[in-house]
């Protein structure tokens, strides 16, 4: 199948759309990494930068929304083009939420104070690493319009969920044994929840990529850890 449209301007529009989404994805991945680094190193300045940079992510969502509407009005996309354009609209909304979660993590950093002695904290970076990879891979799947890559992302969500359940139990136990740290641990719980939600959102992106690529919806996933905390 020829890659390019007969009307080249259509290709330009689609490429611009993909470029904006790639930029947004990159910024969101950086936001999560920086937020976690700020947390571990107690780097308040870095945390503030994450919060400020979130504005650019929000602006990109608006820009993509505008471009999608223009593309639909001017190009009347059909079939896989239409699915890709609609998926792009839904995906940027989800990616913007992921950016908000990263910002939320960064906002909590100054509120946690000296937490270097709170052992459960050490689990969080590993969990965030996986969630961040899922975000990157789901957006790579979108760029490649690859259903198999999308499915691989969805498989990994179980790991993030298991991580979350484990951190939750560990933190609760820690709080019971160290009541003076309840305030910090509560923030850490929220952070863990945010990371778990990022994993869920990356999975949503992957599901939309699957639909855009194949025209079919994936069957409902069975969740192994069904007790939603």
């Amino acid at each position: 199948m020829p890659e390019q449209h007969t009307v080249k301007a259509f290709d330009d529009d689609i490429n611009k759309l993909r470029g904006l989404i790639a930029e947004m994805g990159g910024r969101v991945e950086t936001a999560l990494e920086d937020a976690m680094t700020a947390l571990v190193q107690q780097d308040f300045k870095k945390a503030k930068t994450v919060v400020i940079n979130d504005e650019r992510i929000d602006a990109l969502e608006a820009e993509v929304g505008k471009l999608v509407i223009e593309t639909i009005a001017l190009r009347a996309p059909m079939a896989n083009d239409l699915r890709e354009v609609i998926a792009a609209l839904k995906i940027v909304s989800v990616v913007e939420r992921i950016g908000d979660y990263a910002k939320n993590i960064a906002k909590r950093v100054p509120k946690i104070g000296d937490h270097r002695t709170i052992e459960p904290l050490s689990l969080l970076p590993a969990m965030a690493q996986i969630a961040g990879e899922m975000v990157a891979e789901s957006l790579n799947a979108f760029a490649a319009r690859n259903a198999m890559l999308a499915e691989a992302v969805i498989e990994r969500d179980q790991i993030v969920d298991s991580f979350y359940n484990s951190i939750f139990r560990t933190l609760v136990t820690y709080m019971m044994e160290n009541p003076k740290t309840i305030s910090e641990c509560a923030h850490l719980l929220f952070i863990a929840k945010n990371i778990e939600r990022i994993g869920d959102h990356a999975t949503n992106v992957a599901e939309m990529v699957y639909y855009a690529a194949t025209g079919n919806y994936l069957p409902e996933r069975d969740r192994i850890n069904d007790d939603d905390i």
Binding site: E3, Q4, V7, A79, L82, G215, N216
Partner: protein
């Protein structure tokens, strides 16, 4: 109507290759495809308009309500009343609006009295969405109407002889967007009463008016299916290339 293994030749050149398709009153069927793909040629086999082309030869089987339309026993004039046609360029007769509609019923003996004929003219114009606009000037010439009105007059003319099938060959190509919208609305109203087949170059129109779409390419029927499926998730690459504008 049913077509089975239809091949059409213009002399040595094969224009239609082994096409089989069914059309019914429940679903408006659109034929789409690039220029020269055979969609108009195939449309014309459905009411034997190709008979008028000396070099044309039709093979295979086409039936209307189970009757073979190419059988020697078939009355071609009757056939063309039962399977009406509307063309790209509106072609009203150089007669009054009234006579444009009344002509067919008169020659087919469908009216027993003037009152009958008046009723047929009124109901045909009403069903063609034209009655309100012309009821006070039925004696005016059909050619004095606007393009869109002329096309609706031609549709009314087809309806007047009580067809079962209405074939439309790019009926809106010569019309402005408002006239086009009125014809599309009319097609929507006629659905269910008549089996409608529309050939169109305009994919958005095919998507808007039809429930089934057939994609023709170089004489082949490449893909035939539910319109929403064809335009959101076609099975064949050739279909996908055409409808997404990657063709050529």
């Amino acid at each position: 109507m049913s077509a089975r293994n239809v091949n059409v030749f213009y002399g040595e050149k094969q224009a239609i290759k082994n096409v089989s398709i069914d059309v019914d009153t429940d679903n408006v069927t659109a034929f789409i495809g690039p220029s020269g793909c055979g969609k108009s040629t195939f449309l014309r086999t459905m009411n034997r308009m190709n008979d008028t082309v000396a070099s044309a030869r039709v093979e295979g089987n086409i039936t209307l309500d189970g009757e073979d339309i190419y059988s020697p026993a078939m009355d071609v004039v009757q056939l063309r009343a039962r399977v009406g046609m509307v063309f790209q360029k509106p072609n009203p007769f150089p007669k009054s609006i009234y006579d444009n509609i009344a002509y067919g019923p008169r020659i087919h003996g469908l009216a027993n009295s003037k009152a009958d004929l008046d009723n047929i003219v009124e109901s045909s114009l009403f069903r063609a969405g034209l009655w309100d606009e012309v009821k006070d000037r039925l004696k005016d010439s059909g050619t004095a109407l606007s393009g869109g009105q002329q096309q609706r007059l031609c549709i009314g003319r087809a309806i007047a002889v009580e067809p079962e099938v209405i074939l439309m060959d790019e009926p809106c190509s010569a019309l402005d967007p408002i006239a086009t919208a009125k014809i599309e609305e009319l097609i929507h109203e006629l659905r269910g009463r008549y089996a409608i087949v529309i050939v169109t170059h305009n994919m958005q129109q095919a998507a808007r008016v039809s429930q089934r779409t057939a994609f023709f390419h170089l004489g082949d029927l490449v893909e035939y299916g539910v319109t929403t499926e064809i335009f959101t998730n076609p099975r064949e690459d050739r279909t996908k290339d055409y409808i997404t504008g990657r063709y050529g």
